[in-house]
Amino acid sequence: MTTEVTTQPRRAAQASQKRKFMIEAIAVIAIALILIVLMPMLLTGFRLNLLGRFLALAIVALGIDLIWGFTGLLSLGHGIFFALGGYAFAMYLELNTLGEGQLPEFFGLYGVTEMPLFWQPFNSFPFTLLAIFLIPAIVAGLLGYLVFRNRIRGVYFSILTQAALVVFFNFFNGQQKLINGTNGLKTSTSMFMGQQVGSDGMRMFFYISTVIALIAMYALCRWLTSGRFGRMLVAIRDDENRVRFSGYDPTAYKVLVFAVSGAIAGVAGALYTVQSGIISPQVMDIAFSIEMVIWVAVGGRATLVGAILGAVLVNMARSLLSERFPDVWLFFQGALFLIVVTALPDGIIGWGRRQFGSAVSSTLGLAPTNLPYLDDSPEPEAVVETPEFADK
């Protein structure tokens, strides 16, 4: 870490900030245009659909980045929120396809003759739209409140979210009669706005929706992480006690940011579901939720672009690698975890910044960036502390 002291006056810094914002906005719009206009021309339907799914996964990566990269809470349970969003949308589609008074087909298999109560509201599209955000947010908020209230954090939080994931998996998997258990809900033959979800037109629609949602979520996260609130998140990550003794209640902040992160995952789940054609308890597999974390780590935590980049790249690699060498994928993925943790803690973005950062920013006329992802505990005293509740 080089100490690059910038002594420039504040005004220049502000100008640089403004300019940075402009450049960023232009870049986002340019990328959106490339994704929406150029990609469909370049890619086959199959590949475009894949890209759409990856972008949906990139949205969940944004959520993970918010809670982990910025706030320092490693959630291994985002599969829950992803699934909740997916199920909410799939339930609506299932009902939307049916005629008046009909029941979804699978109910017949288990001898259910009356629609369970909780299915009823999903007849309404506005409700579903809200539910995609709100149900994951509420579940996350509640879980977060119960956990954070007791100052359970660090690895304890991770383990508990993982356990919650297992529980939700068991619940969804076991409740055949309510939500079709292991089989999950299919969406590709369902109707949406008068068209089949799996049809080419609808796919294009969902692809574009995903791009737009991604940009919207990016903007949301950008807004959250800049300004005082964002600094607060970083402060909580750096030193929660200090935050508390400065008069803030970190629990409220953490609950809010966890809920937002859950809602983002819910949106991702809904968009992923319609593009992959099925939502099943499998998305609450332990491995899947840990993978989400590694996307963020590969891209570079605490950088929103990194989260998106990581999600898309890792999934692309997975898709292609497992097509060609199915055996190798696990080795590759395992190695990825190791490399990111040991050799590339700042991910691709951090590495890129270190290599080319100054060159890029000087071309763009920006102040040099010097923001390595500093370790949670760079102080030698803090390194020996016991991990859990311990905090000297």
């Binding site: 660090g154 840990i290 395992g334 943790v341 040991t342 390194v383």
Partner: protein
């Protein structure tokens, strides 16, 4: 009624004993070193596969060997897993001390590699690995000795790594395509393998008319107790145990006092891993042995550690037994049976019957754990003192 009670207690304890023996190594590694070892399950798997290999050797020897192979398998499972753990600690974990979240991710990566390793390990692959290791290590050694290593390490390291991998991969590929099918076949493959306990562990001792305690369960309970005693003795009665405890308390001070902390770390991790090996051996008596063996146990084991509180063995013991008994009572529907079948209790009975399947019992147990943590956020036996309170 009494029989039911004893039976229930025994079954709960036997579930708890399995949880405990699985969680024991985890509790040591987590409690003493602050390392979240998600590869613990895979270390168990290696213990189980060691048992499988020992069993096959015993079977081929014939005679009395298949009846007593467990006594060879047990220490070997310990040793194999401990060595693997040692390797893991030396190559990965030691760079990550004090960063539990990083250890969590890294060990998850390790677990993926281990799972795929056990699936696809074969002679060509072993040859490849050995070639890689030799080339890389010898090359590095030669370079460091005869060149100005510091100057060239920047570019030489990756090149050397790439070169060794490439040569190893090519050789391994050539062997793969030229060898006889028997030779190139994976050793274990993706299938589950069959580990059969010796006949004396297969039956059960009958008590009364309706009760039978399976020998395998009794054996595991005894094994768990022995492990506990051994661990307790090791930590509290030996010089190395003292060192481990002192490093846990204060690493910096211990180092100043001449305790080789690195060796202590390696030893502790190896001990935890070895216990995973023993747990792996134990579960072969009950369940299947396959590449995915570890994943079935790891989350439950972590729950035990969390509920028990970090760094206290007694916490883990109590937590494992309580979780075991609750799981059993809920899962087998005993609670619903105990309640008197009157109208007053009917809602409660319906409620418990809803949870009286193995899947739903897990849901219930987790809800209880969350509720418990509201009261005791630091577990049953939280470490006390100024330094640990927020």
């Amino acid at each position: 009624m009494l029989e039911g009670l004893i039976g229930g207690l025994f079954n709960g304890i036997s579930i708890g004993a399995v949880l405990l023996i699985v969680a024991l190594g985890l509790a040591i590694v987590f409690g003493l070193m602050g390392v979240i070892n998600l590869a613990h399950g895979e270390l168990m798997m290696f213990g189980a596969y060691t048992t499988f290999v020992v069993q096959n050797v015993a079977k081929s020897m014939g005679g009395i060997a298949p009846e007593i192979y467990v006594f060879a398998a047990l220490p070997l499972a310990f040793v194999v897993s401990a060595l693997l753990g040692l390797l893991l600690e030396r190559t990965v974990i030691r760079y990550l001390y004090g960063r539990p979240l990083e250890t969590l991710l890294a060990t998850w990566g390790v677990s993926l590699i281990l799972i795929q390793l056990i699936r696809s390990i074969s002679w060509p692959m072993v040859i490849g690995l050995v070639i890689f290791a030799t080339l890389f290590l010898i090359g590095r050694w030669a370079l460091t000795r005869y060149t100005d290593w510091d100057r060239i390490s920047q570019w030489a390291n990756p090149i050397f790594l790439g070169l060794s991998v490439a040569i190893a991969a090519v050789v391994s590929f050539l062997v793969q395509s030229s060898g006889s099918s028997q030779f190139v076949r994976p050793w274990f493959g993706a299938q589950n393998v069959d580990v059969t306990p010796p006949s004396w562990l297969r039956g059960g001792v009958a008590i009364g008319s309706a009760l039978q305690f399976p020998y395998a369960r009794l054996f595991i309970i005894v094994l768990t107790i022995l492990c506990l005693v051994a661990v307790y003795w090791f930590l509290n009665g030996t010089a190395w145990g003292l060192r481990i405890r002192s490093v846990t308390q204060n690493r910096g001070m211990s180092a100043c006092l001449g305790i080789p902390t690195e060796r202590v770390d390696a030893l502790t991790f190896a001990l935890g891993s070895g216990l995973a090996g023993i747990a792996g051996f134990a579960v072969t008596l009950l369940g299947s042995v396959g590449p995915n063996l570890g994943g079935n146990y790891i989350v439950d084991a972590f729950m035990v550690v969390v509920v028990g509180g970090v760094g206290k063995l007694v916490g883990s013991i109590v937590a494992a037994l309580v979780i075991g008994i609750v799981t059993y009572l809920v899962g087998s529907g005993t609670i619903a049976l105990i309640l008197p079948p009157t109208a007053f209790f009917q809602p409660a009975i319906d409620f418990f019957n809803f949870f009286a399947t193995t899947s739903m019992a897990k849901v219930m147990v987790f809800a209880l754990i969350i509720a418990f943590l509201q009261v005791r956020p630091a577990g049953l036996f939280p470490p006390k003192g100024r330094s640990v309170e927020l």
